[in-house]
């Protein structure tokens, strides 16, 4: 049975405190490595701390230096790191880097930026448009950022591209009932695609907002195998069975029978919805 050991660093990153956050991440990596983790995961925007407001804009280069520093600590294992990416046009992205042997071997830009209630990501970031999968020695993996997994399309695209597991990094605040919301969404994506899903969320309280924590691993059958603490820092370690989903797919049509004609009509339906200026 092909297995991979994963460590989720459920950190309470502090707002704009790049040095402190970098130390926390590096310490987390070291602890995870001692426990034999092959893949280590941080929450969303971990270098800067989610909820940093206009500090995001002020500290992009400092955050990139932190990525460099963290990158150099990554040996023969994988790190999925949430950070602010800057492109050569002067635009910023809410991104995740996949780091291996001191190199960024993959980069993902959040496609579904969040702008309701306390969220204000479009003020700072440009959305990504690509839903790639990344080759690792454990097979292909997909990386998603928080709200991306509340939409069926990004996980589906990654499943179609052959991802054997989806990693979701998040910074989701606590509010009443939110724990169930997350379990439901994550599990739904597992059911949609018959794939294990891993969620690594921010924890801790700042500026009156408490992050939910509750990082978790849901296997391809939809069972919660491991769960992190609510709202507190934690390190969640578990093994993922990378063959299970293939066994489950033998007699299950959910991904196999996705039909092009249906997808084409879906795109058409979407265009009809977005071009409804003439309807009442």
């Amino acid at each position: 049975m092909k297995k991979v050991k994963v460590a989720l660093l459920q950190l309470s990153t502090r707002l704009g405190a790049i040095e402190e956050n970098t130390k926390k991440i590096i310490r987390g990596i070291e602890r995870a490595r001692k426990k034999g983790a092959n893949i280590v995961v941080t929450p969303e925007l971990a270098t800067l701390g989610y909820g940093s407001g206009d500090i995001y804009l002020d500290k992009v280069s400092e955050n990139l230096k932190a990525v460099e520093k963290i990158k150099n600590k990554v040996g023969d294992f994988y790190l999925i790191l949430g950070y602010v990416e800057g492109d050569n046009k002067g635009f910023f992205y809410n991104s995740a880097a996949l780091i291996h042997k001191k190199k960024i071997i993959g980069n993902y830009r959040k496609v579904q930026l969040v702008n309701y209630r306390i969220f204000d990501e479009k003020r700072y970031f440009k959305p990504g448009n690509k839903m790639p999968v990344f080759e690792t020695k454990f097979g292909k993996i997909g990386i998603l950022i928080c709200e991306d997994v509340w939409f069926p399309e990004p996980p589906r695209a990654m499943a179609l591209r052959g991802a054997g597991v989806l990693f979701v990094i998040g910074a989701s605040p606590y509010e009443r009932g939110k724990d169930n919301v997350w379990v439901n969404y994550l599990r739904q994506r597992v059911y949609d695609n018959i794939l294990p899903v891993v969620f690594c969320n921010q924890a801790g309280c700042q500026d009156g907002v408490t992050y939910l924590g509750l990082s978790m691993y849901i296997n391809a059958q939809g069972e919660i195998v491991k769960k992190g603490k609510l709202t507190e820092e934690d390190m969640v370690i578990f093994n993922i069975d990378l063959d299970e989903y293939k066994r489950l797919r033998r007699r299950d049509i959910r991904l196999r029978e996705v039909r092009k004609k249906v997808l084409e009509d879906l795109v058409k339906a979407f265009e009809e919805m977005t071009d409804d200026t003439h309807s009442i």
């Binding site: 704009g16 407001g53 801790g204 408490t210």
Partner: protein, 280 residues
């Protein structure tokens, strides 16, 4: 659908989140502790309990009765609780200050004067709060709840003046529930709520509705985002009553905001500039 009350299993987490938020803010702001204006009512009792959990010895309860107005029972309750919680406290009667400040007024109708003097009392308490806070390098921990904040049932720069509102996202009926869970004595929890501005005043009489009615209405309008008409239908309350509360919410937005700044520059501080308070 109208699920205002917490489930029993939610209560420990609610308490923990609030305690953590107090702890974090005090630490991040470089303060040494917290001041709580303590009336012996349920709101300030709960806040005192939470502050004690967060800050240990570094809190002071300021008991600020007005002779002739504050009921003996409130004072007794207050003394009982500070002793039980082992909280340091001072007792400061506000009569002299109120009397002297009242002399400042050189104009206005009798009714107008009376109104300003009702508001003067919480403002005197505010001055004392901040004198203590400055002297001890403490923060002022506010005791306003969500019901009061929504209705504007509080004095601007009086009892509403504080550095944080730890129970500001709890409706009054939820405060009762959390207070009960926290072990606040039943006679405090069950006491008829009063702002204590004049002898015999009760909140429910002054506002015109019971807290249970008010919270149901506010919950529908705010949390469920229902219209006045829908709210009145669902709760079987006259739409005039619902509308009355709705207008109070609307008219009191100013009490929930810092003063509006007239925009001149491209970076108006209350509109364009968005930095967190708790940062590196």
């Amino acid at each position: 659908m109208i699920h205002i009350q917490f489930d029993r299993e939610e209560l420990p987490l609610i308490e923990k989140i609030i305690v953590e938020s107090i702890k974090t803010r005090v630490k991040k702001s470089g303060a040494k502790g917290g001041v709580v204006a303590f009336s012996g009512g349920v709101d300030s009792s709960l806040v005192l309990h939470l502050a004690k959990k967060a800050l240990g010895k570094n809190i002071i309860a300021l008991i600020m009765p007005e002779r002739g107005v504050t009921p003996e029972k409130d004072l007794k309750d207050a003394f009982k609780l500070v002793k039980r919680l082992k909280v340091d406290f001072d007792v400061l009667e506000i009569n002299e200050f109120v009397k002297n400040f009242s002399k400042v007024l050189k104009r206005g109708t009798k009714k107008g004067k009376e109104y300003s003097i009702y508001n003067l009392k919480p403002r005197v308490r505010m001055i004392i709060n901040y004198m203590y806070a400055n002297t001890l390098n403490y923060l002022v921990i506010g005791t306003s709840n969500k019901t009061e904040l929504l209705l504007g049932y509080g004095t601007k720069y009086g009892d509403l003046a504080a550095d944080i509102y730890p129970i500001g996202d709890l409706y009054k009926t939820q405060v009762w529930q959390v207070a009960e869970y926290a072990g606040i004595p039943t006679d405090i929890v069950k006491k008829v709520p009063s702002a204590g501005l004049w002898k015999g005043q009760t909140d429910e009489e002054e506002i015109g509705y019971t807290y249970s009615q008010i919270d149901s209405v506010l919950f529908c309008l705010v949390e469920l985002e229902l219209s006045v008409r829908e709210t009145s239908r669902i709760l079987s309350l006259p739409s005039r009553a619902v509308n009355d509360l709705y207008l109070r919410v609307v008219k009191n937005e100013h009490k929930r905001r810092p003063p509006t700044i007239t925009k001149i520059s491209k970076m108006c501080l209350d509109k364009d500039w968005r930095y967190p308070v708790e940062r590196e």
